[in-house]
Symmetry: C2
Subunit: 248 residues, 2 copies
């Protein structure tokens, strides 16, 4: 059995050799030809089949292992892993981008700005241990004349002191923070919720109408930076997440 005809005329694509090896094997796995648990040919066998050095084969297999498609065991060989937990990639764009993608004019409007010493609730939202100053912001993102999303944000002023100098009247805190604060970690929670009186009022929808809520907590170098809650009327927003098997 041979993986490829190594004497083949080039099929047209110009992949490097280790990339071709990688995608050949990935194809075998994703197509089901090599079921989970199947032992992949040893490096020295692939070396012979592709007529290349072990380093080249190793590069391909190492990448497959890092991508989680295979598992490598010393002395035993490499094996196709059990179907991985389905992990999809969720792209979270700036709201301005989302709105402009709809061909509508975008506008941000501040509703509220309060500086205060963190309440217990604030600390819970931010994941803060000790009390300290925070900035609580509320604002509306518009798509044309219609409210598109309500934003409720907390900024940890101990981590981002400059935020205190900013009014955030017409520029949204999100874009402001990006670039100013390098963030190293983020956690998102997505759920559905009925609009309460205040939310319905701000978004100009009926009370108890369904909303999509996206909350994000952000850390920079282990320190909580911000917690934000985006509330979308159900009609106005759908999140899209894709799974594509790792390209190595």
């Amino acid at each position: 059995m041979s993986l490829v005809e190594t004497d083949d005329v080039d099929g047209g694509e110009s992949l490097s050799l280790h990339q071709r090896i990688l995608s050949d094997i990935r194809e075998k796995i994703l197509s089901g030809a090599w079921a989970p648990g199947h032992r992949i040919p040893f490096e020295h066998e692939l070396t012979a089949q592709y007529n290349c050095s072990r380093m080249t084969v190793n590069k391909a297999l190492s990448q497959l292992a890092k991508a989680g498609l295979i598992e490598r065991r010393r002395r035993s060989g490499s094996f196709v892993r059990q179907p991985q937990s389905q992990a999809a990639v969720l792209e979270l764009h700036d709201i301005r981008i989302e709105v402009e993608a709809l061909g509508l004019p975008y506008r941000y409007e501040r509703l509220e700005r309060i500086k205060r010493r963190s309440s217990a609730d604030d600390r819970a939202r931010l994941g803060l241990a000790a009390p300290g100053p925070v900035l609580a912001l509320e604002g509306l993102h518009f798509a044309g004349e219609r409210p598109f999303a309500l934003e409720q944000r907390l900024i940890n002023l101990s981590a981002v002191a400059e935020a205190n100098e900013e009014e955030f009247l017409e520029i949204a805190p999100g874009p402001w923070l990006i670039g100013r604060v390098p963030w190293s970690e983020a956690e998102h929670r997505i759920r559905a919720m009925a609009a309460d009186e205040n939310i319905a009022d701000a978004l100009d929808i009926e009370a108890s109408a369904p909303c999509l809520v996206v909350e994000r907590r952000t850390w920079s170098a282990e320190r909580p930076v911000t917690h934000v809650r985006f509330i979308y009327p159900a009609e106005s927003h759908t999140l899209v997440a894709r799974f594509t098997p790792s390209q190595g």
Copy 2:
């Protein structure tokens, strides 16, 4: 300027050299010390600083490039990339797992099973061009005595003929399909929705109560396999997505 004291006593962790180079540089980027646009030392400079071969440095930089943290340009060098589009990883577990994680007994119950020639709506859901046989399933996932999620599923029988032999009375189609059909691509849509009469009835909630809807379309080798819609009462489910800068 030196990145590390190469004569340092080992800090305790046993990283390989290229991994240490990688994480040193990643740290510089994530901490903000090297801002977007900053030119990373050339390979030959790092080679000198770490007293290692170019291949070792190259391995680290290549991985950073693949992870999207840096951009490499021939003849010019490697540069820190502009803050990437925020991409979070959404783990989508089997519902049984979700329920059992809550410490509740899990049960699946079929509500409906219809084999039919695909309607226009079916084809739209599956992304099918031509008509053909499909299996429409509806079922309930229970956590203890309470309905946890309603599942509405379409299976493309042209792609998964064996599904026609299965009744799906007590085993959910999700786990059944996994392992039987290798899937190569999936797309998820997440939104909020008000429960209509039928949904409210099935889930034992009030009509027009908010629900979280997760839809998934799955392909195997370019062919549509299944479309599924999970409908969760707002209280019962929160999706969690994490961003952690690629570990290379």
